[in-house]
Each structure stands twice: as structure tokens, then as C-alpha cells.
């Protein structure tokens, strides 16, 4: 079974909490998958949306962020696309090194990489795809439209 949620969000960081809560409520798999999905996927999606709005769209309220969530083939996949110019994700420094530990920023991408099974970007750098592999068992997005 394959299920999908698609959201178009304004560039407004206040919308992130509501959007993530909405996705988690719709995701029936979250209840069964429990802690790993509630923590790892929630954190990863939140960080991806924040990066898209703050750094991708540069706080520009005229730009939007597209979110596509698919549960299929034993994994949940989130694709977050902003309307910015993209960035060099390879140049983000490790925030846990002594020289970076006191920096106020730079932990979002690190947390995504730590908590998700796969984190990848398109060539432009304005789209990130997060993958969390689910434990065996049924997993559907409650009320989601079949793909």
C-alpha cells in the first residue's frame, strides 16, 4: 500500500509546528512505529522546513515550501522543496567540534543526518529528501490519498 500527503506552506516559521503536527496526526504509522518516528522523523521534518524557510527562501513571504510525504516500501520519505537558489550542503561544518560548539547555528542539517536513515539533496541544493526506514508491519497515512 502506498500513501501520500502533499502540503504547500507559506514562508512563515510559525507554520512549521502546525504543519509537522498535521503530518504526524495523519501518519497512522507513527502510532505503531512509536518513538523512533515520533522523535527522529519529527525532528528531521521540522529542521528541513526551517532550513527551507530561513536559508532557502530567505524569509521571503512571497515564496513557498512544498512538502511531499510518502509511505511506501517499508519507509517514510519526506521531500521538502523551497524556491531559493539552493546552497552547498557539503560546506556546512560539523557543529560538534570544539571550534563550532559555541556557534548559535548550524545544527539543523547535522540533526537530520544523525536521526534519519538517508538525507540527500538535488543538484541545485533547494530540495532535501529524508528517508526513515520503518519497522516491519502495516504503515499507512490515515486518510491519505492512494498514489
Amino acid at each position: 500500500m502506498e500513501n501520500e500527503i502533499v502540503l504547500e506552506l507559506p514562508t512563515d516559521v510559525r507554520s512549521i509546528e502546525h504543519a509537522v503536527d498535521y503530518v504526524m496526526r495523519r501518519c497512522d504509522a507513527c502510532e505503531r512505529q512509536g518513538h523512533r518516528l515520533q522523535l527522529n522523523f519529527r525532528v528531521g521534518l521540522t529542521e528541513a522546513l526551517a532550513n527551507a524557510m530561513l536559508y532557502g527562501n530567505g524569509h521571503d513571504p512571497s515564496k513557498r515550501v512544498r512538502v511531499e510525504i510518502v509511505v511506501a516500501n517499508g519507509q517514510i520519505r519526506a521531500c521538502v522543496t523551497d524556491q531559493g537558489m539552493g546552497f552547498d550542503y557539503r560546506s556546512v561544518p560539523d557543529p560538534t567540534t570544539p571550534e563550532n560548539l559555541l556557534n548559535p547555528g548550524g545544527r539543523g542539517l547535522f540533526l537530520m543526518r544523525q536521526l534519519l536513515d538517508e538525507v540527500s539533496f538535488n543538484d541545485q541544493g533547494n530540495q532535501v529528501t529524508l528517508v526513515l526506514r520503518l519497522d516491519p508491519g502495516p504503515s499507512v497515512l490515515e486518510g491519505g490519498a492512494p498514489a
Binding site: 507554520s15 525532528v43 529542521e47 526551517a50 560538534t96 545544527r107 540533526l111
Partner: protein, 110 residues
């Protein structure tokens, strides 16, 4: 998010309720800085009723810790749940802050 500020024997206690995330982090920062500018130097931020802190929230705590240290003070944290502890450990911020199990422990230790 909402927060309660109280004073306990020379320590400013800030209790955060809800999520500390990119959409509301500035509220906490502004409130703590007001007290710092007002002369407070010892701070405890308690997360007994906090479900989640995102990277922006972590960044605000780092920023506040730096500013408080620059003024000769100290910021301590308390009552991190299992998820929050995981985030602090992953980012190694558990090495930057003194983290108490309870707010009482944090206050007593100051």
C-alpha cells in the same frame, strides 16, 4: 510556548511550557536578556513541560549562555526528558551546559 519567570534565592528560574522552536525562540531570548540587563546573573531554564527543542532553540540556549557568561553569570538547565537529552548528546551540548535532573537540584546547586 509560554514561560513562567520566578526568582528563587538569587536565581532566576524560567520554566518553558510547550515547544522551544524557530517560531518562538526570540520570545525566550528577549525575556532572559531583559533579566540579564536588569542585573540577574544566575539563571536556570527548566524543561519539565517542554516536548521538543529544535536546532534554533538549541542555538538560542547557546547564545544566551555566551551572553550570560560574558556578564560573569551562568545558565544551567534542568529536567530534560529522554528525547531532549538525546538531542543535547547528539549535538554535544551536554558538554556545554550544567544539566540537572530537576529544577530543585539546579537551584540548590547554584
Amino acid at each position: 510556548m509560554s514561560f513562567q519567570v520566578s526568582h528563587n534565592g538569587g536565581v532566576t528560574l524560567v520554566e518553558v511550557e510547550g515547544q522551544l522552536i524557530v517560531g518562538n525562540r526570540q520570545e525566550l531570548k528577549q525575556k532572559v536578556l531583559e533579566h540579564l540587563e536588569g542585573g540577574d546573573r544566575k539563571f536556570v531554564i527548566d524543561f519539565s513541560n517542554t516536548g521538543y527543542i529544535d536546532s534554533s532553540g538549541l542555538g538560542v540556549l547557546v547564545s544566551l549562555s555566551k551572553k550570560i557568561r560574558e556578564q560573569g553569570g551562568e545558565l544551567r538547565l534542568s529536567s530534560l526528558n529522554e528525547d531532549l537529552r538525546t538531542l543535547f548528546e547528539l549535538t554535544k551540548l551536554d558538554t556545554l551546559f550544567k544539566i540537572a535532573d530537576t529544577k530543585e537540584e539546579a537551584l540548590d546547586g547554584f
